[in-house]
Amino acid sequence: MKDPEAARPAADEAAVAVYDELRRLAAAYMRRERPGQTLQATALVHEAYLRLAGAGSPWADEKHFIGIAARSMRQILVERARARNAQKRWAGLNRVSLTESLVAAANEDAMLPALDEALTRLEQLDPEQARIVELRYFVGLGVEETAEALGLSPATLKRRWALARAWLFRELAAGGGTTDGRGEQHRGFR
């Protein structure tokens, strides 16, 4: 398993600050939260921005900030999912790999590590694709907001979002539950 500390962008101090702030806010939020309520990550990111904006913010604008925050949200959620899955595992056997369909599985947290690894592969091919997924899926921004944050037209964003979903769906559906990061790459490229 990857070391979460190593996965953190230690070089970028701004990112670390955002990461820590989001973690703290999320934890506080969860303590207040009533059971059954869902967390609005957009609200969380916005609050983090307001808190950090005053302190000589190293990012250009809120758009830039949201990009960093989205990346942090992805890291936090994937780390937690990994830690949680690790407890359920026996000697490296991921239970999910025993179930018929990874994608159809209701336990989405178990899918996150595999999704993260697929996303990392997609990122090597096309970084913008990964940004789209982080903003739409990990933060929950709408089409308009995501398009604005990335400087795309909403129509283009919609199509590229469809592309990212198709690419990741194929990876997860075909690659199965490998969480060791060596899922078969570029399946279908002959």
Partner: protein, 508 residues
């Protein structure tokens, strides 16, 4: 795929979404006739796009927001309700376990907390409640007693008997193979504890060396009836789990463990558990078999290089033979029956296990019986020789029918001799407990029966031929016929029973 190629794929994908061409293959060829890789990738992605459904459409935090909750550990000295935390004992999939003092009664307890990380997870809450309810119904010295289910500040705790000692896993790591008597004793204790739960309709479903503690006084205690399911027998009950009955497992989300997840630890799961089929006490019997086997032998009965390999072996292959001739045969037989694939072939519950293990038969398989069995085989082969020699003599005295009789005896004695010699050889090489040897015996039994009775019959005919001319020789011949016949019908079954603990090798 290069980035340039990828950019072409992306553009083609986007154009396809815009124009939705009717003949996609021809259209793709027009877009990228020069690059087959680009064409194939675009086609693959367009194909997969149609199946994405709601994939990733709902933001992750709206679905698994509990992932964001911070995990908190209790510190020594901290007070939770009436409990004072002493130290953390360990962590598991079900949460942290602390050593604590119940200040009301002054007794030491093990306090198990539902992880705050999962505190909002209703299914985990429900699972813990069930654990407490199921386990609280059990009062057996071999089962860790549950005292109370507590709720403080919205968090759930189980207070249970604190067992000071080590798990069977720790015990197995730090020592050599246990003596045969220890194996029998351990199997009996575990079976008795499990039987008391089965008698109440409660199954464990996650038996493994980590869930069995050896207390300091040497007694065993089963922990964590965490996945236990109460088999309610009343009409309209939720958890119908008789064989063949529809199980709650068949219904996603209605299942008390997490939806889409398997309950239990894969390496110790019965085949039907791995297959997601209904389980009952017979799955516990299987897990018991795996556990005791591993305790006795030191390795998993379905050992394989990878965990998935183990699961595959559990589903498809036989257990590795037990390489311990010193074990009491009853233990070997019991384990062999516990590890059968079909639940119906195993013991119905641990109650039957207790009976099977109770027989006081601690003699190893090979002691005592083997020399008798070998002597019998050799003696029979000698009788074959005598019978052949006698038939030759009869033929010399009275040619004619006796010639045919001699031929019959000669052929039969040769075949019988080969079979018996082969059995002796196989027994020496493989050992009497080996599965391969059992198969040899099964094959040889009808042959030796036919051969021996044929020789006896032929000798009777010889005796009748001699009766008028040489009455004394005739009596001797008839006596030999009776000897061979009776040896096969009376003596051989008893030497076989002494050696193998069974009359005829029909069962194995």
């Amino acid at each position: 795929m290069t980035r340039d190629q990828w950019r072409r794929v992306r553009d083609i994908f986007e154009r396809a979404l815009e124009s939705e061409p009717p003949d996609i293959d021809a259209w793709l060829y027009r877009q990228a006739g020069d690059d087959a890789a680009v064409r194939a990738e675009a086609a693959s992605l367009l194909r997969h796009r149609t199946g994405t459904g709601s994939f990733l459409l709902q933001p992750v935090t709206e679905r698994v927001s509990n992932l964001l909750a911070e995990e908190r550990a209790l510190q020594p000295g901290q007070i939770v309700g009436p409990y004072s935390i002493v130290r953390e004992l360990g962590r598991g999939g079900m949460g942290r376990v602390y050593l604590a003092t119940d200040t009301r009664l002054g007794r030491t307890v093990a306090l198990k907390a539902l992880p705050p990380l999962l505190v909002k997870d209703q299914s985990q809450r429900e699972r813990l409640r069930r654990e407490a309810r199921a386990a609280a119904a059990l009062t057996h010295p071999g089962i860790c007693t549950v005292y109370a289910l507590e709720e403080f500040d919205g968090e759930l705790y189980i207070a249970a008997e604190f067992v000071d000692g080590q798990t069977l896993r720790e015990e197995m790591v730090g020592r050599r193979r246990p003596a045969p008597g220890d194996v029998l004793q351990t199997a009996r204790e575990l079976a008795a504890a499990l039987a008391s739960a089965h008698a109440k309709g409660i199954t464990h479903r996650d038996l493994k060396p980590e869930n069995v503690m050896r207390a300091r006084d040497g007694r065993l205690k089963i922990l964590d009836f965490g996945l236990a399911r109460v088999e309610e027998s009343g009409a309209g009950s939720l958890a119908v789990s008789g064989p063949g009955a529809p199980s709650v497992e068949a219904l996603p989300r209605a299942h008390p463990t997490e939806p889409g997840m398997l309950a239990g630890t894969p390496a110790y799961m019965a085949p039907e558990q791995l297959n997601g089929q209904p389980v009952n006490a017979r799955a516990d019997v299987f897990e018991f078999g795996v556990l005791v086997y591993e305790y006795a032998v030191g390795t998993h009965p379905f050992d394989a290089p990878t965990p998935l390999g183990v699961a595959a072996r559990v589903l498809e292959s036989h257990a590795h033979p037990i390489e311990r001739p010193d074990l009491p045969p009853q233990v070997v037989d019991v384990l062999e029956r516990c590890l059968r694939k079909a639940p119906a072939d195993r013991f119905a519950s641990a109650v039957d296990l207790v009976h099977a293990l109770a027989r006081d038969e601690a003699t190893p398989r090979r002691a005592g019986g083997t020399p008798w069995w070998r002597a019998h085989q050799l003696a029979t082969m000698a009788l074959y020789f005598v019978a052949s020699a006698l038939a030759w003599q009869v033929k010399e005295w009275q040619p004619g029918t006796a010639g045919v009789v001699f031929l019959t005896i000669g052929v039969a004695a040769s075949i019988g001799g080969v079979f018996r010699g082969h059995l002796l050889f196989a027994e020496r090489v493989a050992g009497s407990g080996a599965v391969a040897f059992s198969a040899e015996r099964r094959r040889a039994t009808p042959a030796t029966l036919v051969v021996d009775l044929l020789i006896a019959l032929a000798l009777v005919i010889d005796g009748m031929i001699l009766s008028s001319a040489r009455p004394l020789a005739a009596v001797l011949t008839l006596a030999l016929a009776a000897g061979i016949g009776l040896a096969r019908l009376l003596v051989e079954p008893s030497t076989t029973r002494i050696m193998f603990g069974e009359a005829e090798p029909t069962r194995r």
